[in-house]
């Protein structure tokens, strides 16, 4: 096995350059690194390249899942702080003295490649992910997002406990809406659930080509299972509205 990334012997590693760029090096290390770079075209070029990368990335969007206000955990033991953090993230609409055991984040954050919809519930100015199977309180406001690696077309329907179908997105067009590749891109609407307890289903359909949403809505109303046709995927999210 060879070293896959060959840099001239004695030159700066990406780790050192990354640390230089973000200002983590102490004065002595910084002087040493810059001294080397001043006499080395390879490192000068690499520093410029990584700095450009870093600046471009920093100017880009931050995933919605990371948009949460700074939390300060003071006066708590590490274990309690961790439990409190988990409770904030995973139990958006329940409260009580004993937080329920929460699943590991890795298990529940969607990482699959297929196009999908994400839901975030806002409470006290914080956004928490809302996952299929979770409970919500009536009146909760939920922000949907979408993630897709390929351009395509999207429509989102809601089906309430009584089987009534509502087209959430696009709300007043008979055809699906085009979407660009994006990750956790907020959709231009939010969902407010009414006070009737019961099941609430969301059905998101992604297709390569534009499709007729009115026809799909009728099929959902007739309780016909929506099977993804060629070039389509369906993402379903089940929520349970609790009594207040």
């Amino acid at each position: 096995m060879q070293r896959a990334f060959q840099r001239p012997s004695g030159c700066l590693s990406d780790l050192v350059i990354d640390r230089l760029i973000v200002g983590e090096l102490d004065d002595a290390a910084r002087v040493e690194v810059l001294g080397h770079a001043a006499a080395c075209t390879w490192c000068t070029a690499r520093i410029a390249e990584l700095r450009g990368e870093q600046q471009a990335f920093a100017a880009g969007p931050v995933p919605l899942a990371l948009h949460r206000p700074k939390r300060r955990i003071l006066g708590l033991s590490a274990a309690l702080a961790a439990a409190a953090a988990l409770a904030l993230v995973f139990l958006p609409d329940r409260s009580g003295p004993e937080p329920e055991p929460a699943p590991e984040l890795e298990d529940v954050v969607r990482t699959k490649g297929a196009a999908h919809v994400g839901l975030y519930v806002e409470r006290d100015g914080k956004l928490s992910p809302l996952l299929s199977g979770e409970h919500i309180v009536p009146g909760a406001r939920v922000q949907p997002t979408y993630t897709t690696t390929e351009p395509g077309h999207l429509a989102i329907f809601g089906i309430d406990g009584a089987g009534r179908v509502q087209r959430h997105y696009p709300a007043d067009a008979p055809a699906s809406a085009p979407v660009r590749p994006a990750r956790d891109e907020p959709l231009p609407f939010s969902l407010a659930f009414d006070a009737t307890p019961g099941r609430e289903r969301l059905v998101a359909v992604f297709c390569e080509q534009a499709f007729d949403t009115a026809a799909l809505e009728r099929r959902l109303a007739d309780d016909v299972a929506v099977e993804p046709g060629p070039g389509c995927t369906v993402d379903r999210i089940d929520l349970h509205k609790d009594e207040r």
Binding site: M1, Q2, R3, A4, F5, Q6, R7, S13, D14, L15, V16, D18, R19, V22, E24, L50, E53, Q54, A56, F57, A58, V62, P63, A65, L66, H67, R68, P69, K70, R71, R72, I73, A78, A81, A82, A85, L86, V89, L105, E106, V109, T111, G113, T149, R183
Partner: protein
């Protein structure tokens, strides 16, 4: 690098580029690399105590992203797929590094190595880090890194 002073979103902006570059070079797949990076930062939001402040944040992040990438390679069925495809190419070779097929071979080997050794192999072969830097990232002695790296060709032969 103060532990909780910046928000995770701010950390993501500052350090995300280097995390993504690492994940890309290990996984060779843009979408999965983005997933790993986002998951790493999301997990920090849930469990900020992961970063104990014993090292610089960059150093911690290198290690955390590498660890997740190795898990990703092991999971998701990639293991079997890569092994089938590249088992023959996984043994040490004498060529110059950097070719895509060679990186694929390195990945195929990584998923079969013991975890610590796999992490060291990533830092050495993919990152091109020195023994000293690897020791800093992993929080162990330089001597141990040297010894483990010396044992790599033997592991590669066994795996073959």
């Amino acid at each position: 690098m103060p532990a909780l002073t910046p928000t995770v979103a701010e950390l993501y902006r500052t350090y995300g580029a280097s995390a993504l570059r690492r994940a890309r070079s290990i996984l060779g797949d843009e979408a999965r690399a983005q997933d790993v990076v986002q998951d790493t930062f999301v997990s920090l939001l849930a469990r900020p105590e992961q970063f104990a402040g014993r090292s610089a944040f960059s150093t911690w992040l290198y290690s955390a992203v590498t660890h997740r990438c190795l898990n990703t390679l092991r999971d998701q069925g990639n293991r079997a797929r890569l092994l089938d495809r590249h088992a023959d190419a996984a043994a040490p070779s004498g060529g110059h590094g950097g070719a895509p097929e060679e990186l694929a071979a390195v990945r195929a080997l990584l998923v079969r190595l013991p975890a610590e050794l796999a992490q060291i192999a990533v830092h050495y072969y993919i990152d091109g880090m020195t023994h000293h830097e690897i020791a800093e990232v992993l929080g162990c002695s330089r001597r141990r890194i040297g010894t483990l790296l010396e044992s790599l060709p033997g592991h590669a032969q066994e795996i073959r």
